[in-house]
């Protein structure tokens, strides 16, 4: 494009082309947040399950708070690699809405986790249900069926935490996160790379 005058027809074509380009845009590695949080949760959940079942020491449950730490480290590593090449940045209304959805669900998940230290509550069920809701909402907003379906699947699987009792419910939790975040994260990444 140059600094040249346009005819009225060219102006209209340019406006629609620019708006269309942005609407159809899908960033590379769009599934990275799902993969980072998904893998971190699965790794920590399996570690907690293994340590608690082998040692019978419930202090290993404190490891759950390692999920945000592990995710943060993974995020820093991903960003450090990303900065090596020229990366365009654009933020749409949809990006802002999704950011706010996860902020609200993330804060509520964190508050419930803190309360679970003091009061007895089905914490795995609550976290799985809320994260499933956030995933389903994200999928519906971005109109990407695999993410929306896996979110609803996560919500349904949260009920299994009542069926499978005791420490083994952690395995249900880890399995649900693989279905709800890891698999759709990879699908999302592959789809954004193909576009």
């Amino acid at each position: 494009m140059e600094d040249k005058k346009l005819t009225e027809k060219e102006s209209l074509e340019l406006i629609s082309q620019m708006i269309c380009n942005t609407r159809n845009r899908m960033e590379d590695n769009k599934g990275i947040p799902f993969l980072i949080w998904g893998y971190s949760t699965v790794i920590v959940a399996l570690t907690v399950w293994y340590m608690v079942t082998t040692t019978q020491n419930y202090y290993w449950q404190w490891l759950w708070f390692g999920i945000p730490t592990l995710s943060y480290i993974a995020w820093l590593i991903f960003n450090a690699n990303k900065k090596k090449k020229e990366n365009p940045h654009v933020k749409t209304f949809v990006d802002r809405v999704i950011g706010h959805v996860w902020m609200v669900f993330g804060i509520s998940g964190f508050l419930v986790s803190i309360m679970a230290i003091i009061y007895r509550m089905p914490i795995l069920f609550i976290i799985l249900l809320t994260m499933g809701m956030a995933t389903a909402i994200t999928g519906l907003i971005i109109r990407f069926k695999p993410v929306a379906i896996s979110g609803f699947l996560g919500m349904a699987l949260s009920l299994l935490c009542f069926v499978v009792q005791g420490t083994d419910s952690i395995l249900v939790f880890a399995g649900a996160f693989i279905l709800m975040m890891v698999i759709p994260g990879h699908i999302l990444n592959n789809t954004s790379r193909k576009r």
């Binding site: 140059e2 340019l14 620019m18 380009n21 209304f93």
Partner: protein, 94 residues
């Protein structure tokens, strides 16, 4: 009766920038350059003109050690764009 088209927006690159920013919350210089295919120098001049007119807000920051220029359309820019589109409509043959 034909309405007068805003001369600031009636240029290919400036209209491209505004049309792009109208549909996003914010975009950086690299993204705008990729989408418009303009040279960095020319793009910088046109963004400055839009910034001076109060149509675009420019924020300069750093991503690590790399400078980063982020642009977002202002309410005045949205009004100007809407007026421009309204004026364009008067040129469409009924």
């Amino acid at each position: 009766m034909f309405k007068e088209l805003n001369p600031l927006l009636h240029s290919e690159l400036r209209l491209g920038i505004i049309s792009l920013l109208i549909s996003v919350e914010e975009a950086d210089f690299v993204y705008i350059r990729q989408q418009t295919g303009a040279t960095a120098g020319n793009l910088s001049i046109q963004i400055d003109k839009l910034n001076n007119a109060g149509y675009v807000e420019v924020t300069k920051s750093f991503k690590g050690k790399m400078p980063c220029t982020t642009c977002r359309i202002t309410p005045a820019g949205i009004d100007a764009f809407e007026e421009y589109v309204d004026a364009l409509k008067s040129y469409i043959v009924k």
